[in-house]
């Protein structure tokens, strides 16, 4: 299918569903059914089996026609992580049950992966799932769960066999967040708001039909989820001075009285780093377009985390006395992180999470060193031990 063909499809769709007169949800459902949700997905599951690159054409055509969008930022975990995993490992029943309301945003998803004792070492997780008839009974605690308080469904990994080494005894499930035994508590963080949650699971019953992939192979399934998470980060084209650097540069230009020589040098260095990171991202996207995926993806997250922290720290200093103030410590529960909607102090504090969430900078450096540069792994003492014998 070509760009011309896809435009014809979109225009035919728009002729039948006028965005001006069609109800928002009806429009989104119809768009999914027409295969224009994610064109690279199979026919019948919101796609046309077309090249992924054509999605940009579809989005542009629909946006130009004033079509409603499915609010991808609010439902990012479902779109970016649950959907590709369900597509790859789900049964036909699971795909047809979950993908449509996921894409339209009718059902929000969250991710029950991290635990208080299993962050970077995710495979050490201890939440148990025990077989019980045609289902499983789950007990444990998860943490850092965005959207748990609004989510209808969760992707969950749990330990189903404590007698084998940690990577081999994990199974992947789809968990109904409305089930009894699930308790969601806001987790207030450094910024004052509660963007994340703790989730307690006590005797939660999950039918075996909601298992994704084979018993004991949850780690491999989770890799698909995590790889898609990293592709999602840094995959967007940004203009020069896009993101945090633009915010600080604007403040610098508007407020000549705040400038100092020392901050000037730091700002120029950071501006330069941001531009180099932008060009690196652009080069990565060009490689992907011609089918030469480079290993730069993991690097982009590392670079952006460092920059966001450097720039947001610089901004607070630049503001001097104003930097001593904070806009609001009220505990709110935002559905999305909006750096630019808050003030410099918020940006400074929230950016601290950039080098922790979605893979810490330390883990990303290990990944680069081992998978890209081919350096030997650190000796591991826990790799072949049964999970139940691990030191905790």
């Amino acid at each position: 299918m070509s760009e011309m063909d896809i435009r014809t499809v979109v225009r035919a769709f728009l002729a039948e569903h006028d965005p001006a007169t069609t109800d928002r949800l009806d429009f989104l459902r119809a768009r999914f059914d027409a295969g224009l949700a994610w064109v690279h997905f199979p026919v019948g599951l919101g796609g046309l089996g077309a090249p992924r690159a054509l999605q940009a054409e579809v989005d542009a055509e629909l946006a130009a026609a004033g079509a409603p969008d499915n609010d991808p930022r609010r439902i990012g975990i479902g779109l970016g992580m649950a959907a590709p995993t369900i597509l790859r490992f789900g049964t036909e029943e699971q795909k047809s049950r979950f993908l449509r309301p996921l894409w339209t945003g009718e059902e929000v998803w969250c991710q029950l992966f991290s635990e208080p004792g299993a962050g970077s070492d995710l495979a050490a997780l201890g939440t148990r799932a025990v077989r019980d008839g045609d289902g499983w009974v789950v007990d444990g605690q998860k943490v850092w769960t965005s959207s748990a308080h609004t989510a209808r469904w969760a992707i969950l990994i749990a330990r189903t066999d404590p007698d084998v080494p940690k990577h081999r005894g994990i199974t992947y499930f789809i968990c109904d967040m409305t089930d009894p035994g699930i308790e969601v508590r806001p987790l207030r963080q450094i910024t004052g708001e509660a963007e994340f949650n703790e989730v307690f699971l006590t005797g939660v019953r999950i039918p075996d039909a909601h298992r994704l992939g084979a018993v004991g192979e949850g780690w491999q399934v989770a890799q698909t989820t995590l790889n898609n998470e990293r592709v999602a980060i840094g995959g967007q084209a940004i203009p020069r001075e896009g993101g945090m650097v633009g915010v600080v540069a604007d403040t610098w230009r508007r407020r000549p009285e705040l400038r100092t020589h020392e901050l000037h040098q730091r700002l120029l260095k950071a501006w330069l780093e941001a531009e180099v990171a932008r060009l690196t991202g652009e080069r990565l996207r060009q490689q992907l377009t011609v089918g030469q995926p480079g290993p730069e993806g993991a690097a982009m997250k590392l670079a952006f985390a460092r920059l966001a922290q450097e720039l947001s720290g610089l901004e607070v200093e630049l503001l001097g006395e104003e930097g001593l103030a904070y806009d609001d410590w009220t505990m709110t529960r935002p559905e999305i992180v909006d750096f630019n909607g808050r003030e410099a102090g918020y940006r400074y504090l929230r950016a601290k999470g950039n080098s922790i969430e979605g893979g810490t900078s330390e883990i990303l450096r290990n990944i680069i060193a081992e998978r890209v540069l081919g350096l030997p792994a650190e000796p591991r003492t826990d790799k072949d031990l049964p999970w139940k014998e691990l030191a905790r």
């Binding site: 501006w271 652009e282 290990n366 680069i368 060193a369 890209v372």
Partner: protein, 370 residues
């Protein structure tokens, strides 16, 4: 957005240049050459320039060049950096050739394009784009030049010197034959053993005027900007060699009963270095592409590439020395050749600090007024 990848033709060119350098320019040969009386490998230069046509890549076909672009020339610079090759490519094929291409008189170009002769732009290697037109050399009414220039790279073997000089009409660019009476070219002991510098004295030296006040300043600026932009590719090549060589060594070298490269403290340093090298590739490619297309963004692209790549090459070479341990401090190990080239390149055609300050003007981030 410009094309930041390498074309198939560019990859073929890279592979030819790399093969030649692998065969004829191993680090041992570079080191031996540095210690000889002959600072350049002119046989290598002839193979590179004449057989591979590298000297005339950016020269249009009508002047006997390949009619390619600065993108291809940048690829050659990468490979020359990777092998710290002692050839006058930067001075002749980049700086002098670019200046000549911007001059009305272009009869020197064919000989430069085929590598039969070499030329040099007679300015200190540290001269940055945006510098004021040099006033150290004056031309009298007969076009004879008098004055003194220091730290000119690639001048020792040059057949022709392109000398910026001031005459009664203002700035001009003059060609001086190396054999001309009254010209002195004296080798200096330079930090970079592989790109020796020379001081040039002119005492009433006969010269031919190539460009006058209307074009000479622009030709000089274009040459300096192009030189700075393409030097970023050389710096990328240096960094790549240093990173690759260090990674290979740390996979092999064992201490405390395991490969040094398995220690996380070392891995993280190399991962950071790799990340900056990936950035350098994007920045250097963008600069080469912007210069090749004469993009309005070229000055900014060059400032970004130079500021990033200049600092990176030094850091990569310093890490290479440190992570090799004692062997990295020896004369026998080639790491020092790369460190010396990287440090000299950091100053050449503008320091990273100079280029960052240039950015301040280009992107409207002025400093404090006081």
């Amino acid at each position: 957005m410009s094309d930041l990848l390498y074309s198939e033709i560019e990859e073929e060119l890279r592979s030819s240049v790399r093969d030649l350098l692998t065969d004829h320019c191993p680090p041992s040969a570079v080191l031996a050459g540095c210690e000889s009386r002959e600072p350049y490998d002119l046989a290598l230069w002839r193979s590179l320039a004449a057989e591979l046509g590298a000297a005339g890549l950016q020269v249009p076909e009508e002047y006997g060049g390949a009619g390619a672009s600065l993108r291809e020339t940048a690829v050659v610079m990468e490979e020359l950096g990777r092998s710290v090759a002692p050839v006058p490519f930067l001075g002749s094929a980049v700086l002098a050739t670019t200046a000549l291409l911007a001059c009305p008189a272009s009869d020197l170009l064919p000989a430069l394009a085929e590598g039969a002769r070499t030329a040099v732009l007679a300015v200190p290697l540290s001269t940055a784009p945006g510098a004021a037109f040099p006033s150290g050399v004056r031309a009298d009414g007969n076009g004879a030049l008098t004055g003194r220039l220091t730290s000119v790279a690639d001048a020792l073997t040059a057949d022709v010197l392109l000398v910026p000089a001031v005459d009664a009409d203002g700035p001009g660019l003059y060609a001086v034959e190396a054999s001309a009476t009254g010209l002195g070219v004296v080798r200096r002991t330079s930090l970079d053993l592989t790109r020796p510098l020379a001081d040039v004295t002119l005492e009433g030296v006969p010269a031919r005027k190539l460009a006058g006040a209307d074009t000479a300043p622009a030709a000089l600026e274009r040459a300096l900007l192009t030189g700075a932009g393409l030097l970023a590719s050389e710096q990328l090549g240096i960094a790549e060699w240093c990173l690759g060589t260090t990674v290979a060594y740390l996979k092999e070298r064992k201490q405390f009963g395991r490969a040094l490269g398995s220690f996380q403290a070392i891995k993280h340093r190399l991962a950071d270095l790799w990340l900056e090298t990936v950035g350098a590739r994007a920045a250097a490619r963008y600069a080469a592409d912007a210069l090749a297309g004469e993009s309005p963004d070229a000055a900014l692209a060059v400032a970004v590439a130079q500021a990033h790549c200049g600092a990176l090459a030094v850091r990569a070479a310093e890490e290479c020395v440190q992570l090799h341990g004692g062997i990295g401090m020896t004369w026998e190990h080639p790491a020092h050749l790369y460190l010396k080239r990287a440090k000299a390149d950091q100053i050449a055609l503008g320091t990273p600090g100079h280029h960052r300050n240039a950015l301040a003007g280009l992107v409207d981030l002025p400093g404090p007024v006081d």
